[in-house]
């Protein structure tokens, strides 16, 4: 790779590393694995930079690389056998004791539920509801049809509903109280 191209590549990596790591974290639930997934996606990007850098949306390519890297890893026999569950993250320091405990419990429930649905369905959920991609964009990132995205989304939501029955009951009340924590955490 030429020096100028490599400089552009480095600038891109520097600018997008944090945000892609967050996406990766949503996919795998572990910050260390997320960092490695993103790095592997960046390595792939380096190999194809000359081609990808001419694309209209580099982010779309990299997102696709990241998701494929994650799915490839999940398909590997090693990951199926010995990949441990994500370690609980430390309690957020900036919340009150009661609110923080409830928040941590709900987050742990969510991570456990996400860990129990299939990797493909988890990727669909993350892309659709975390990355806010459309069905078509999600299908492009996953390399499947729109119909597959829709059906997998439905299955994933059904699985979450089954795994988190309490949340379904609490959700209207929480939203009815106004100002969701979700908005706060996304901000």
């Amino acid at each position: 790779m030429r020096a100028e191209q490599e400089r552009e590549y480095v600038e891109y990596v520097r600018a997008r590393a944090v945000s892609l790591r967050r996406t990766a974290y949503r996919l795998c639930g572990d910050w260390h694995r997320a960092e490695d997934l993103v790095q592997r996606a960046f390595v792939l990007l380096y190999r194809h930079w000359r081609h990808v850098s001419r694309a209209t949306s580099i982010d779309a390519y990299v997102r696709k690389m990241l998701v494929n890297t994650y799915l490839d890893e999940q398909r590997g026999w090693w990951a199926r056998r010995v990949t441990p569950n994500a370690d609980p993250s430390p309690r957020p320091p900036d919340r009150g004791p009661d609110e923080g405990a409830e928040h941590t419990d709900r987050r742990l429930d969510l991570m456990a539920a996400l860990a129990r649905i299939s990797a493909g369905q988890r990727a669909v959920l993350v892309l659709r509801y975390w990355e806010q991609l459309s069905v078509a964009e999600t299908a492009a990132a996953l390399g499947c049809s729109d119909g597959t995205v829709k059906s997998q989304t439905a299955l994933a939501i059904a699985a979450l509903r089954r795994l988190l029955p309490d949340y379904v009951a609490d959700a209207p009340r929480r939203r009815g109280e106004g100002g969701t924590e979700a908005e706060g955490s996304q901000a």
Binding site: V13, W78, P92, L125, L160, A182
Partner: protein, 458 residues
């Protein structure tokens, strides 16, 4: 649970505990990316080297690709194969790669059920086999020169009649011309090549009879043909109308005379300029033994006594005999008859080479002593069922040997070189093994690389 619920649910898994990126994360990523590219290039190069190495090691044929045609010269001893190579559809044509100086030319194959037929030229200095057919004919009229370096094809075409002289060592072709002739019944027949390589005797139909009657074109059942001599060096040719109908011819060792067989058991020794020098009387029913009939010392002319009908009315070629005629005009005794039906050449003035069956399915070239009839098998033809998809045995026909090389010929073990087409076909297993090895290497290295990068690996 609707879309908004799921969005809220995912947002609930906050990022508050997000650790900071390592300070050298970008540099570390760049190093890893560079190493990845280098590794891939290295593995690719290694796989390519492995493919080449496996092909070279597994496949011995390509080494021949770099061998040039060995020069034909007096310092090289010509050889005959101990066993002629079995039939192969992958034998290359002589135009694809020169065969070099040849020791034999023959037709080989079977046409019992389908057609598996080849005209093959066999190298004198290496065990080369090349097909020598023309585009029009699987068994073209062709003569092998006595020194084995040239083939002379006869190529009838509209308007002119042309010979094509092909040099087997340089692959240069030269067009030569025959006398003009016209007939709708028969055509030009190539008869013999002089030992010095200069003259070729052939026959052409005589001019149509003046009375226009068909029966006037025949004498004793033979179509009236006339002798013609082609000077290969000067591309000049002469017709001798007074010598015919021609049934066969063979040159003397001095290349200045030839014996010509005519009807009614009559034969003449004539000069290449057309003068009749000496008349010979052949045994009734005997034919001149082909273009190699004259012995190398000039004393004998071999004839073939055609087999008589047996009591049951059957005819067997094994009943044919070689009968010798004195060519010197004296009354000295000649060797006794030999129980064979052809003469391929002379290894010495006292031994001839013949083609004869040595088993129910197997022919061979055999040396026969004129003194006592003792036989020595020199070259066998394969009796394997390799023709017509393994259904038939291949047979050899119209064998011509380079008669000028036979006095010094030696035997060689069989190691067929069939040319580039056979080499490519036979190299395919090696290529497949090489590609499989490269693929395996790629897979193994790829797996190892993937494990090394796995953060949860050992």
């Amino acid at each position: 649970m609707n879309d908004a619920d799921v969005t809220a649910l995912l947002a609930a898994g906050d990022l508050a505990a997000e650790p900071a990126l390592a300070p050298d994360y970008v540099e570390q990523t760049l190093r890893r990316a560079r190493r990845s590219v280098r590794t891939r290039r290295g593995v690719g190069a290694l796989a390519a080297l492995l493919v080449v190495a496996v092909i070279v090691l597994v496949q011995p044929w390509p080494t021949r690709w770099f061998q040039s045609v060995p020069p034909a010269g007096p310092d090289r001893v010509p050889t005959l194969p101990e066993e002629f190579a079995p039939f192969s559809r992958f034998t290359s044509h002589v135009n694809d790669r020169p065969a070099g100086r040849a020791i034999a030319l023959y037709e080989y194959g079977s046409s019992e059920l389908g057609t598996s037929w080849q005209t093959l030229v066999v190298g004198a200095d290496r065990d080369t086999y090349r097909r020598a057919e023309t585009e029009q004919d699987l068994a073209p009229p062709v003569l092998l020169s006595p020194d084995g370096t040239k083939l002379l094809y006869y190529k009838p075409s509209k308007g002119t009649d042309e010979f094509t002289l092909l040099d087997l060592t340089t692959m240069q072709t030269t067009v030569l011309h025959s006398v003009e002739w016209r007939s709708h019944v028969t055509g030009l027949t190539m008869l013999a090549w002089s030992p010095d390589g200069r003259y070729v005797a052939y026959s052409v139909p005589a001019s149509p009879p003046a009375d226009g009657k068909a029966e006037s074109s025949f004498v004793d059942g033979d179509f009236i043909t006339e002798l013609a001599i082609l000077d290969v060096i000067n591309d000049s040719t002469v017709r001798y109308s007074q010598i015919g109908p021609v049934r066969g011819a063979a040159f003397a060792p001095d290349s200045e005379r030839l014996v010509v067989q005519l009807p009614r058991d009559e034969a003449w020794i004539v000069a290449v300029r057309g003068e009749k020098l000496q008349q010979l009387t052949l045994t009734a029913g005997a034919d001149l033994a082909g273009n190699a009939a004259w012995s190398p010392d000039g004393s004998l002319i071999a004839t073939i006594l055609q087999p008589p009908f047996r009591a049951d009315g059957s005819l067997h070629s094994s009943d044919a005999k070689i009968r010798f005629v004195d060519a010197t005009g004296t009354t000295r005794p000649v060797p006794a008859d030999l129980p064979f039906g052809n003469v391929l050449g002379w290894r010495s003035p006292t031994s001839v080479l013949v083609q004869t069956p040595i088993s129910a399915t197997n022919d061979a070239i055999v040396e026969v002593s004129l003194a006592d009839g003792r036989t020595t098998v020199l070259s066998r033809f394969s009796d394997r069922h390799v023709c017509e998809h393994g259904l038939q045995i291949c047979h050899a026909y119209r064998i011509q040997l380079a008669t000028g090389l036979l006095d010094q010929v030696r035997m060689r073990p069989s190691d067929p070189d069939r040319g580039p087409l056979a080499e490519v076909i036979s190299a395919l297993p090696g290529v497949q093994v090489g590609l499989a090895a490269a693929g395996l290497l790629w897979f193994i290295l790829g797996r190892r690389g993937a494990r090394r990068k796995d953060p949860v690996g050992p």
